[in-house]
Symmetry: C2
Subunit: 411 residues, 2 copies
């Protein structure tokens, strides 16, 4: 700090003030002054620049005890748009959302992630541009892009790291490729399960501070919400529970080379294989779900047993993290009560009373939209952070798009 | 907020500004203005009130390119003191520290936690008062107390919840009893392992953002540092790994009623019992350590095997949390390389490469002081938070101890 001489601009601190307004509730200048302890002149300068940038807008008049009623201001989620991208092994979901993660337009297609980053990201850029255009917004309004990938991602760089099902993506510059192809928006990348956790949390359980989201599909993974925020760990690999050893399963080989991994005994793939050996026609987790829904008893029993195996690992996760909520998502979760029943059976037996006393175990509310909602939330959070809003305002003032407020220079 | 009309005081925001200075580095008013973007008049008013409260002090002159060199200001850790209390089943450690957690005076005694909260907390209050007096400070300078207890604690209320080794403490009002007996300081309570994690992190690894601290003693527990902060989970029970099932150990009964718990196979108590069955004289973890240090091969082998069992559970913890550091503390960690070697053997084999690539597994640096350092850090953090500092300043202004700064009313 001692080396930097930065002259305070009149609007400095507007990004911080804006955080108060992100809940969408209208507030008067007096409300904002009371909530922050800042002088009215400071509030006026900051409100003016946020208004000029169209991040907030007048939201009617407050009631008054006499005299002219004061104007209220509220967050304007339509100020900009973001692109949310949810990529799986064989699917791509795209959505353009506003800054409250409301979906304005969306599309979905079958793709092959194995075609590699250039082909797949080129496809996304093309369809992303078209999707933005379909909402009637210019591409300039696209401020950021959130991308979920089906493999480990180093969040700080946005690069996949040795992703097992998409080896050609190893160390790919997803951020750079996509930003260049979309005219320069900021691009954030994370693994799909982290974004599912974020999407489920924001859309269905925003007031739960400690939650574990578990995806049970071809593979198994999880995302951790702790003290209200997604926790990624040191390399972005937190939540990677698919290769934790299941007690008592040490005779089952896993494709990772170890024995008894959770994925080897309880994933959609593992249950399908189990059913095939019993003479049933099941290739994927979706096939397993279809069999269960058709009333097949063997499939129901196999899913419940998979739930118990999951439960033995989730009991350890519950003891370690002490969440108040475990949410089960992914295609196998759609098999109804069988999976959850198996999980509950073991978790409540195996975890300590203090950890399970107030613990709920439920299936995902947000279902297939959950990845998109999480990608949008990540993209929005990035561009609406105090520092990012300050940068945006600085750039607009420098470009002459927004006049520096003429108020006092009170900081 | 709309219901509250709070007039901004001249010093509002001083608590936030103070956070910048907590690192101890001297800064000029211009440095602070540049770092915050706040007006000089605002900075001057806030610096004045923090000076008057003696939370900061002049720290010499900065170099100047001409004219009178500007004064620098720095955090003044001696402004107040806190009492740190580390309680075990049979010991009590007390320390008076300054606001940088530097120990000014300490004492240690054998106690019996089973004597119950009134007796034990009465003893602590008596010796705590004497310890504060021994530093030459009046009791009024004691602003907060941090207490670590050997059992589960609901952090939000500070009450023990069904603590197995101290049943007479269940739901005891530790905060109220101790605060009353010490003239009204704020009291914070947590379980001992969380505070060991906090103490180890602050004193030895402040720059590590994701760390797991594991205590291996009579029992086994852990504390989680994630994104730089201690994470307690929904009920304060996070890190409670002692009763996670160890794969392959399902024939070992645990005192909790389940089979194959980590504590039943790898705690100091379990290893001592194993050695007793082999004809050796070992009652406690300390006895085990003494045997290992005396060169007993069977004891060394038993500790290494306990390390492997610990490793099988820690591998799951590493997969879930992706820490960059696992620190092993508690008395059994003093058995030298045997325990760590067993842990490393299994963790590096069983966790995914992305999670272990940059993972270090080490023994505790802070050793027996670690609980005291954590209790002090918790107590200090609480009283130096922006809101707490603002409350302190408000109270001092209201009491006339500090004059409201005469600067401009810039917020």
């Amino acid at each position: 700090m001692q080396d930097v001489v930065r002259l305070p601009t009149r609007h400095a601190g507007a990004g911080e003030l804006f955080q108060l307004l992100r809940d969408g509730r209208p507030r008067t200048r007096a409300d904002l002054a009371a909530a922050t302890g800042q002088a009215r002149s400071t509030i006026t300068a900051r409100v003016d620049v946020l208004m000029a940038a169209e991040l907030i807008a007048p939201a009617g008049e407050a009631s008054s005890t006499g005299g002219r009623p004061p104007t209220t201001f509220a967050f304007r989620p339509s100020a900009r748009v973001v692109l949310a991208v949810d990529l799986g092994a064989t699917h791509a979901r795209l959505a353009v959302t506003d800054l409250a993660s409301t979906v304005l337009a969306s599309t979905e297609a079958s793709i092959a992630i194995a075609d590699g980053p250039e082909a797949v990201l080129g496809w996304i850029a093309e369809h992303g541009r078209a999707l933005v255009a379909s909402t009637g917004r210019p591409l300039d309004d696209l401020v950021s892009v959130g991308v979920g990938l089906p493999g480990p991602v180093e969040h700080s760089t946005g690069r996949p790291i040795n992703p097992p099902i998409m080896p050609s993506w190893d160390d790919a510059d997803v951020r750079g490729i996509l930003s260049d192809a979309l005219g320069g928006p900021e691009v954030l990348v994370d693994n799909d399960v982290n974004l599912m956790a974020l999407g489920e949390h924001r859309s269905a359980w925003p007031d739960v501070s400690d939650m574990l989201f578990v995806k049970v599909a071809t593979g198994i993974g999880s995302g951790i919400i702790s003290d209200g925020r997604l926790r990624r760990g040191a390399q972005g690999a937190a939540g990677d529970i698919g290769h934790i050893a299941v007690p008592g399963a040490d005779d089952v080989p896993c494709r990772c080379g170890n024995l008894g991994c959770l994925e080897a005994v309880a994933s959609g793939r593992a249950v399908a294989e189990h059913l095939r050996r019993a003479g049933l026609d099941a290739q994927t987790g979706a096939d397993v779900v279809a069999l269960v829904r058709s009333g097949d008893l063997a499939a129901g029993r196999a899913v419940r047993q998979a739930g118990r195996e999951l439960g033995s690992v989730l009991a350890a996760c519950v003891s370690l993290l002490n969440p108040s909520l475990v949410v089960i998502g992914g295609v196998v979760a759609e098999a109804g009560e069988h999976l959850i029943a198996g999980i509950r059976e073991v978790v409540y037996q195996r975890s300590l009373p203090l950890a399970t006393q107030h613990l709920r175990i439920v299936t995902s509310q947000a279902r297939s939209q959950v990845g998109i909602l999480g990608a949008s939330a990540m993209a929005v959070d990035h561009v609406l952070s105090p520092a990012a809003v300050d940068r945006l305002l600085d750039a607009m003032v420098a470009d002459g798009e927004v006049a520096e407020a003429a108020g006092s220079d009170a900081g």
